[in-house]
């Protein structure tokens, strides 16, 4: 909130005259070092820079550590922390009620890829105007580390269970289903993620961002394709029930066209390949190919993978009146007496 007694030197404001703190949320209760926190900060940056009107934003989420994030940005916007995996439908209803809203959905890889995959498929297909962020850590953080459908083949749980199933590539899936803005990034890549979020906020249609976001507490990818087990013996004496270590955020910066190796807190490695500057994001077939090829190399292509800037979004296709449906006055939504007469006439 702006302070009552204005401070002497002028605060930095954005194009609609608001200061950065307005875009913050309440204090995070996620683990220190959790990638999700970094993503919240990027949402704050992007909304501030874009001059988004906070009271036009609705923040939506399912259930999970990731789904708690909306509480940690844009504190003055309305939020809805719905049920596990079914946020897309709530968001759809909200956008129908008021097409002027800016919807920012946050989900997890479990929330989206497991229980929520059905609603995800139809959200993509409908091209609902909404920024949909998957905070993707390859596990179920909030329920203590079980595999999610984006877990790497070969990851191992404490029970000894090994994941044999190939991960779902939410980007490829979204493109196949007709999503019109599909991007991938890494929670620690401030510059890229902020830029993508800004682009997403400008897109009219579904803007799906799969953001790799390490779970510092549970996603211990021993034996996974994208990691190697590192100095495990060092760790032995500190093993303890219920101890969650404190980690620093990981940040990376790298150039378009290059590949960058990121070492996560548990020692596992992630290979990020930033798309070329010359990459043409409007070619669906090429996007699918790039995703497939990088994946085959054990890399994650990052950047704006695909965009269709002209496709009509779902809400527009409904040809609604200009005013939001939610605020139409009684006179506009309750037909007149003559309409009822007309109907009755047909039934007499």
């Amino acid at each position: 909130m702006p302070t009552a007694t204005p401070s002497p030197k002028k605060k930095k404001v954005n194009r609609i005259g608001l200061e950065l703190p307005i875009y913050r949320g309440s204090k995070t209760t996620l683990c220190a070092g959790c990638g999700h926190n970094a993503i919240s900060e990027r949402v704050v940056d992007a909304c501030f820079t874009m001059g988004i009107q906070p009271d036009r934003v609705v923040k939506l989420s399912g259930i999970g550590c990731s789904s708690k994030s909306p509480a940690y940005f844009l504190g003055s916007a309305h939020g809805f922390n719905a049920v596990h995996g079914r946020m897309p439908s709530v968001g759809t209803g909200a956008m129908l009620a008021n097409k002027d809203l800016v919807a920012i959905g946050v989900s997890g890889d479990g929330d989206t890829g497991a229980i929520g995959i059905g609603q995800f498929v139809h959200l993509m297909r409908r091209n609902l105007p909404m920024v949909y962020i998957i905070e993707d850590n390859g596990c179920y953080g909030l329920t203590k580390g079980q595999f999610s459908p984006t877990a790497d083949v070969g990851s191992t749980l404490k029970t000894g269970v090994v994941n044999d199933l190939a991960p779902i590539d939410t980007c490829a899936l979204a493109i196949e289903l007709g999503a019109t803005f599909v991007a991938r990034s890494f929670s620690g890549d401030k510059k890229q993620l902020t830029a993508l979020l800004k682009a997403a906020l400008s897109h009219r249609g579904i803007a799906m961002l799969d953001v790799l976001s390490p779970c510092v507490t549970f996603n211990d990818h021993e034996g996974s394709t994208k990691s190697y087990s590192y100095a495990k013996s060092h760790e032995e004496p500190i093993e303890e029930i219920d101890f969650v270590p404190y980690f620093e955020d990981i940040t990376v910066e790298y150039e378009p066209g290059t590949t960058r190796e990121v070492t996560l807190h548990d020692g596992s490695r992630l290979f990020l390949k930033k798309l070329d500057e010359g990459y043409n994001a409007t070619d669906r077939a090429q996007a699918m190919r790039v995703l497939r090829e990088t994946r085959a190399r054990g890399e994650f292509a990052t950047g704006l993978v695909f965009v269709d800037p002209v496709a009509e979004d779902f809400v527009t296709s409904l040809n609604l009146v200009d005013e939001p449906l939610a605020s139409l006055s009684e006179g506009r939504v309750r037909p007149s007496r003559s309409v009822l007469d007309d109907i009755m006439g047909g039934l007499r």
Binding site: R56, F80, A94, A97, Q119
Partner: protein, 631 residues
């Protein structure tokens, strides 16, 4: 309890000596997909147009074409429009069931049948009218395709002649159906005439049933309950509709869509004041309705049992996070897929308690198209007033069958949008707390996204009165106790029961929804046959009013009559009533999938009252296998 025994006899609806006017039922047995629906509706409508009270009930299979279907029209001058078990006139068009259909008739009944079926050899105590449909249809058209399609209209012509239904009324009814297609009207009229002429020339009237014009239906319409609900939603100003097809609720949304497209699109701009989505399933449908309700729209969905079962989690969310939305449940026979094209009142209990934890939902129970219309409007008002999902429990009988109804009255009250935060309120209450009970009625103020009122975070997890996340015991308890208080407040806002106190009665009857119509008739039977006076309490909503207890107090025994196996409404009543009153409850349960009929109620009540009754309480209109008795 009366000591005397009584042998109850069905009042014969036909006698062999004097004419029976405007009091009989016609059942047309056909195959679905054969186009008989048109003929049946024309027949129904023409009787209606003659001023005779009627109802039309379709017993159809859960498939698209080729299976047996029975359409029953009951015409009754006294206005009894519930299902009646006895069939007076059978039109036997389906070779597959014809024998069994005929065997199920009472002696003296009339059979109009397709001549090659030779049904007159089956029994000799019926009045048979053979009709050579295939020959006759040749007179209408040479075109094979067309022949198959108008064949059924011929029996309408035959019946018109036999029972005195005016053929011009039939043409009028045809026009109503095919208004925009003169060629269709024309060829069907030809078929009518052929049937009529045949009956005139070849059939000697040997029965005593007659339709005569009367003044019964002024100001009345013919409509199904789903269409009536649709008109209600239209008039309620619904703006967000999310649905997933399921029998028997689909036609509610489909009719609504037609009305919305017709009446809620801006003439000038072509733009709509509504949004409809066919969702991917019922979970998503309710999710969308919740999202819409949260963001300030009047939002709804419609479904049937399996859909309700899928909505459990979201229903709890809406209850606990207090989001308004309206859910129509057009009930069908469960459990599970059950009998999707049969009627029941079987979702009362599971819907009242839908969702884990301490969840509880208001339910409305329309009994007629008028109430479908009115309660649709009330449902939106109540949902927004109480910020909670409101369930309207209709059923297949009401939703998909054709009912007479009084013309609907234009709503006289403005929409109730409930406690929506605005600047004045904000000033009055000071700081906004989404779940703060400022008025002491358990209902709190809500702000709507996109209006510039203070925001809050809506969530299904624990929260305090300021809408903040909380895991504190005191916050939790305070909040759910307020929800209880809100539910208590809702009691007196729910549609009031319709109560008829009979000062002479020691016995009360409680019913709801479509059961009403059989109760009306049964109460008259009880008086006529056993001089048993009853009072009547027609429940229209849950939570109940306190009047329910007073009603029971006045009576020694109270029969709760409902269409399910487990006495579901009676169960809800028992939970709330003082034990002494709960002890007066008796149940009459009907759960065959066919709409309940007066005879079943009358017999059951009489037996429980200690009379001897000759009839068995259960025997469906669909003829039953010989060897397959009840339990």
């Amino acid at each position: 309890m009366p000591a005397s025994d009584l042998a109850v006899e069905e009042r014969p609806s036909t006698s062999l000596t004097k004419p029976v006017v405007n009091d009989f039922s016609i059942q047309v047995a056909t195959v679905n997909g054969s186009g008989s629906q048109t003929a049946n509706l024309v027949l129904l409508r023409s009787i209606f147009q003659m001023g005779v009270p009627v109802s039309g009930k379709n017993l159809f299979p859960s498939n698209i074409a080729g299976l047996p279907t029975w359409f029953t029209i009951r015409a009754n001058k006294d206005g009894y429009i519930a299902r009646k078990k006895e069939i007076d006139v059978l039109v036997a068009m389906n070779a597959e069931t014809a024998r069994e259909d005929v065997l199920g008739l009472r002696a003296g009944a009339v059979v109009v049948y397709d001549e090659p079926l030779k049904l007159d050899t089956v029994r000799d105590d019926l009045i048979f009218y053979p009709v050579p449909f295939d020959t006759l249809v040749g007179e209408v058209s040479r075109d094979v395709k067309l022949r198959r399609r108008v064949r059924n209209m011929i029996y309408d012509g035959v019946l018109a002649k036999l029972f005195g239904v005016e053929i011009d009324e039939m043409e009028k009814a045809l026009r109503k159906q095919f208004g925009t297609k003169p060629k269709v009207v024309e060829i069907n009229r030809e078929a009518l005439d052929v049937g009529y002429a045949f009956a005139d020339a070849k059939l000697e009237k040997r029965d005593h049933f007659r339709v005569e014009p009367m003044e019964g239906n002024q100001g009345r319409i013919l409509i199904d309950g789903n269409a009536a609900s649709a008109v209600g939603c239209l008039m309620a100003g619904v703006t967000v509709v999310a649905w997933y097809p399921i029998t028997p609720s689909s036609s509610l949304c489909e009719t609504l869509i037609s009305y919305l497209r017709r009446y809620r699109v801006d003439k000038k701009t072509g733009k709509a004041t509504f949004a409809v989505v066919q969702a991917e399933d019922e979970i998503a449908a309710l999710g969308m309705a919740i999202g819409g309700g949260w963001a300030g729209a009047r939002s709804m969905t419609a479904t049937s049992g399996p859909g309700i079962s899928l909505m459990g989690e979201f229903a709890g969310l809406a209850y606990y996070s207090e989001v308004p939305c309206v859910v129509f449940d057009v009930q069908r026979v469960g459990p599970s897929t059950g009998l999707p094209t049969r009627t029941a009142q079987g979702d009362v209990l599971s819907t009242a308690f839908l969702s884990h934890g301490d969840s509880r939902h208001p339910l409305l129970f329309p009994c007629s198209p008028e109430e479908c219309f009115e309660m649709a409007i009330s449902a939106f008002d109540l949902a927004e007033r109480f910020q909670t999902p409101v369930f309207v429990l209709s059923d297949l009988d009401l939703g998909m069958n054709t009912w007479m109804a009084n013309e609907f009255e234009y709503p006289d009250k403005p929409m109730d949008r409930g406690k929506v935060l605005d600047e004045d309120t904000l000033e009055r209450i000071g700081r906004f707390g989404r779940y703060r009970d400022v008025d002491g009625d358990g209902i709190t103020y809500r702000s709507i996204p996109g209006t510039s009122m203070p925001a809050y975070f809506c969530r299904g997890s624990g929260h305090n009165e300021w809408g903040q996340y909380s895991e504190r015991s005191d916050d939790y308890k305070k909040n759910v106790d307020r929800l209880t208080r809100k539910f208590e407040t809702a009691r007196n806002w729910m549609p009031a029961p319709i109560v008829e106190i009979n000062r002479k009665a020691r016995i009360g009857i409680v019913a709801y929804g479509t059961t009403h119509w059989a109760v009306v008739e049964s109460r008259d039977q009880l008086v006529a046959e056993a001089d048993l006076q009853t009072s009547y309490y027609r429940l229209r909503a849950y939570p109940f009013r306190s009047a329910l207890a007073s009603f029971i107090e006045r009576h020694d025994r109270v029969y709760v009559i409902e269409q399910n196996r487990d006495a579901q409404m009676s169960t809800l009543m028992r939970i709330e009533l003082r034990a002494e009153l709960a002890g007066r409850l008796r149940s009459v349960l009907h759960y065959s999938g066919e709409p309940i009929d007066a005879r079943s109620i009358t017999d059951d009540v009489l037996i429980q009252e200690g009379y001897r009754v000759e009839y068995s309480a259960f025997s469906g209109a669909v003829p039953q296998d010989a060897g397959v008795g009840g339990e």
